[in-house]
Every structure is written in C-alpha cells, then in structure tokens.
C-alpha cells in the first residue's frame, strides 16, 4: 500500500511537472521593470493597474468597433506577430482601405518613451492612441461618438464598472484602460538582452556586427532601446513631401527630421523608415552606405555616409536579428481576446 502511494504520488508529481511545463509561463498583470532597463518615463502612478483594467484595455485594443465602419482595430496595424507593427505594409491602412501617411511603428516599451509618433507630436502615452482613432485614414472615429458607441454595448458598461468602480465610460477611463494594456507591452527577452546580462554569448558574426554597430550606429541608436529619442534627417530625400518634425515645431531647421526609432525587434518590423520605403535591412544599410541625399538639415554625422562592405552588412544584420524577442508577440497576455 505504502509502495503504491509512493508510485502514485511520484506519478502525480511528474504529471503536475508536465502540466506546468506545457502551460505558457504565467506572467502577472503588473508593471515589472526589467532589471537591465532604466527608470521608465511613465510609472502608472495615477493609473493603477488592475487585471480588470488591463483586460478592458486588451479588448479595446483588438476591437474593430473602435473604427467608423467596424473594420479596423488598433491591432490591424499593430499586430503581435510583428512586434505590434504592420509587417509588410509601407503605410498604415485604415478604414475603407485608406492609406495613412506613415509606417505603423512597433509598440514596445512605450512606458520609456518621452514622446510618440514619427514627428514626436504626441507628448504622453495615455493619449497616444487618440490621433490614430480620429484620423480619417486610420480608425476615422469621432472620439465623442466612440464613447457613445461603447456606452451602448452592455459588455463594455460592465467591464468599465469592473475596472473603475462605476459604469461611467469617459475619455480618461478609456485612455487609462488602453494604457494599462499598451504600457505593459515590454520587450526585454531578446538574445541581445541575455547577452548584456551575461546570460548568453553572441556568435562570432553577431559580435562583429555588435562592434560595427557601436562604431557606426550608436551615436543615434544608443542605449538599451537603440535610440537617443532625438529627431534627425537621415538623408532619405533632398526635398520633403513629409516635413516631419517641422510640422510640430514650425522650425525650418526641423524640416525632414523624424525620430530615431528604437531598433528592438527591427528584423520583425519591416518595411523601414517613416514611409516604409525600404523592405529589408540590407536596403537600409545600403542607404546608409551610398544612398545619403544632401539637404540643409541632413544630420552632420551622415554627410559622408557609413561605408560598409558586404561582410560587414551581413554581420550588422546578424546583430540586429539578436534584437528580436520571440516571447514578446507570443505572450498570451497580449493576444487577441475575441
């Protein structure tokens, strides 16, 4: 009998170990700052994260009813499979197939961002979704009309009550919930992250790429997010259809400048540049090698271009691929709830 119990409990132990291994690792709904990350810009100090608030934000993110014709959601252009970007599409595609003016960026580590959008026009994570919601070529939704639409969906009335204590649906609650979701989208488990924490090693080629990156790229693509969050003209054009940062500042010295993007998950978030003109990382590197266009606002660091031979380009791309975080898009907390 005793022996049987022993076998039984061993089997039970094995079984439970098995089950444990199969289930995706449970990660709590809370804002956890990766140990190798700096202090974030946004800390949820006035927007307390709750499971209900996060789940509400998750639904809003994936709900096509946020658009004028119920066709498009945030996830339409910020797809988890491509690190919440719009892989393959040069420009964002909104209601009725309308094209936006710029490439949809990856959404990751937003709580560390000092501003949002290619031109830095939006200054706070909580309202970063508003421009896309109201833009005629994106979700094309009058914001007051959207709140009214949500008030007429009983499920949302219940979810807002669970998240915020009363069933009222207002601007602030909408943005707080969505921010609880998007602000928790942290990408910190790439090979690069493991290497800088001493938990993995670059291959020889990746190491060469890393050295080249530090030599040629990281005066702009600096720090843990590979961006100094500055606005620069990287020599794409000599005349500007899109005036970039100048649109926000009215300053002629900002003409043709766009934000230096974070390169996290860069291999997953093609095409590249504010207008998605380059399909591959190779094309991007060729641009820096011999495609730089001169103009008065061209970044001084790029006047000579960045000369790279084929071997060096391949090594740089191998390094850039270590920035891909495979866990990020597969994290079940961020998946489509519908």
């Amino acid at each position: 009998m005793k022996k049987n119990w022993g076998i039984f409990s061993t089997a039970l132990f094995l079984l439970s170990a098995c089950v444990k291994e199969q289930a995706s690792p449970y990660r709590p709904i809370s804002f956890e700052i990766p140990v190798h990350f700096p202090h974030p810009n946004y800390t949820f100090s006035n927007n307390t994260i709750t499971t209900e608030g996060f789940e509400l934000g998750r639904r809003l993110f994936y709900d096509t009813r946020l658009s004028y014709d119920n066709s498009t959601s945030c996830a339409s252009c910020h797809n988890p499979e491509s690190a919440f970007s719009d892989a393959g599409k040069p420009l964002s595609t909104g209601v009725g197939g309308a094209f936006g003016q710029r490439n949809s960026p990856s959404l990751a580590n937003l709580a560390w961002y000092p501003y949002f959008m290619w031109d830095g026009g939006v200054n706070h994570i909580e309202i970063s979704s508003l421009a896309a919601i109201v833009h005629p070529a994106e979700l094309n939704m009058d914001f007051a009309a959207l709140l009214q639409k949500l008030r007429e969906i009983p499920e949302y009335v219940i979810r807002f009550e669970k998240a915020f204590g009363t069933p009222e649906i207002n601007d602030q609650r909408f943005f707080y919930a969505l921010t609880q979701f998007t602000g928790l989208m942290i990408s910190s488990q790439s090979k690069y992250d493991l290497v800088i924490q001493g938990k993995a090693q670059f291959s020889e080629q990746e190491q060469l790429g890393s050295n080249l990156f530090n030599q040629h790229c990281n005066s702009c693509h600096s720090g843990i997010f590979q961006t100094d969050f500055s606005f620069r003209n990287n020599g794409l054009d000599s005349e500007f259809l899109d005036e970039g940062r100048k649109h926000i500042t009215n300053n002629i010295n900002d003409l043709g400048k766009f934000r230096v993007p974070s390169l996290r998950n860069v291999a997953l978030t093609y095409p590249y540049m504010h207008d998605g003109r380059f399909n591959t990382l190779e094309e991007v590197l060729l641009h820096y090698s011999n495609g730089i266009q001169s103009s008065p606002t061209l970044d001084p660091l790029l006047t000579q271009g960045i000369s790279l031979n084929q071997l060096e380009r391949a090594a740089l791309i191998a390094f850039l691929q270590t920035l891909s975080d495979e866990h990020f898009g597969k994290d079940s907390r961020f998946s489509n709830p519908f």
Partner: protein, 250 residues
C-alpha cells in the same frame, strides 16, 4: 452616570455658545462668474448662427462654433495675495445663449480687488495625459496630432472670407518653441471691490467681446483659416484676451 449630571447644563451651554459663534463667523461663499459673450462694445449678445458686422473692419461673420478655455481663476485680496480656485478649468461654449456661468466655489470671506485667470489651458495640463470633464478630448478642443488644447475655436461663415467660411483653431502652449498662446488676464474691480461675507450675494459678470479678435491687420479677407500654432495664433490669442472686461461686480 448620576455623578456627571451636574455637568450637563455646562456642556449644553458650551455647545450652544460654539453654535452661536459659528453663526457669527463668515463662511466661504460660492461666487458665480457670469460670462457674457458679446459682439463689439455695444453689448450686443453673441449667439450662434446670427450675422454680425465687425465694428472695426466692417466684415460680416456668422458663427457655428465659438468655444474657448478659461482656467486658473484667482481673486486678488486687498493684501495683494490671491485666492486660487483648485483644479480650475472651464470650457465656455457659445450656443443659442450668450451666457455661461462659472462657479468659484468656497471663496473665503474678505475683500477682493481684482479677478485673474488664464485664457487657455496651462502647459502642465497639456503634458499630463488623459483628462476628463471640461478637459476631455471628446470636447473637440484638443489637437491629437500635436498634443495640446485648442485655446479658442472660431468657425463660421463670412462673405468677406475668400471661400465664404472661416475656421480658426488657436492653440499651442510651449514657450520653448514660441508656440505659447495662453494669456494671463487680470481685471481690477475698479468701481467697487468684491466683498464676500454672510450678508451679501457676491457675484461677478465679465464681458467677452469676440469682435476684438478680428482687427484691421487681421481681417477675414486676409486670414480665414488656422489649424496650427504660430504667429497668427499668438496675435489672435492676444486680441481675444484684450476683448475681456469686467461688466459688473455685486
């Protein structure tokens, strides 16, 4: 219990005395500030969908939208310090009525010699994320593409405008890039101070003369549209603020 009985009358009179004391003391009062939206100096009420002629330029204008923010209301005490209304953000919308009431709640008793406020929304609230109430983006007084509140929104029709209509969204809050359109306005109570005590029903009325926004140098023929910060916005904001005056103090 019985041992304390002799104390009851003393306690009772103490309570009565403190009650009487509180009656004598002046309590803070709510002060209504009535905004009279007017056209020109002749006190013509400004409402939507009526045609007005600008007394300075002679141009006509019919408004479909006339909204603006007033914030950070303060009252100046006789000692030169200010009472400040907490969380003071007010969206004024002209409708088929030209009147809008702002309540200054719990103003302490005393004598006040001026009213002070910011035309527009201060920079802090422009960089503090999602707001609600009068500051809700759904009020359509907010730029989503270049974060910030629209201080003044004037939309309507005019036979003088080249395309027959005008649309001004005046906004911007940064000093760093000279986009700040917000204007502090301090208006003294010249005729008599505002006295807040338990005897009177103090109130203030302000005139907002929207015609002041349009002058000879800034005609609808020359400018009929603005949807970004910049020089024209700063000029219009300054002129709009100049059009605000004290109508009455009681």
């Amino acid at each position: 219990m019985n041992a304390y009985r002799p104390l009851f009358p003393i306690l009772g009179s103490l309570i009565l005395m403190s009650y009487l004391q509180s009656c004598k003391k002046d309590e803070p009062r709510d002060i209504p500030v009535t905004i009279h939206n007017v056209w020109g100096n002749a006190d013509t009420p400004l409402v939507l969908a009526e045609t007005y002629v600008n007394p300075i330029t002679g141009e006509d204008a019919k408004f479909y939208t006339c909204n603006y923010y007033l914030s950070n209301f303060q009252l100046k005490k006789s000692d030169g310090t200010y009472w400040k209304q907490p969380d003071s953000y007010h969206l004024v919308r002209v409708t088929d009525s030209n009147l809008h009431e702002i309540n200054l709640a719990a103003v302490p008793p005393g004598e006040y010699t001026a009213i002070r406020f910011l035309v527009g929304v201060d920079s802090l609230k422009n960089v503090s994320g999602a707001q609600t109430g009068d500051l809700s983006p759904s009020n359509n007084m907010f730029w989503s593409w270049s974060t910030g509140y629209i201080m003044l929104k004037l939309e309507g029709a005019s036979s003088n405008a080249p395309q027959g209509f005008f649309s001004f969204h005046v906004g911007g809050f940064r000093d760093a890039d000279s986009s700040n359109v917000t204007q502090w306005v301090e208006l003294p109570f010249d005729s008599k101070p505002l006295v807040v005590n338990r005897k009177n029903n103090p109130k203030v009325a302000l005139n907002v003369n929207v015609a002041a926004t349009f002058t000879f140098s800034n005609t609808l023929e020359k400018y009929s549209s603005l949807h970004a910060s910049g020089t024209l916005g700063r000029v219009m904001a300054a002129q709009f603020a100049n059009g605000i005056s004290v109508r009455r103090v009681e």
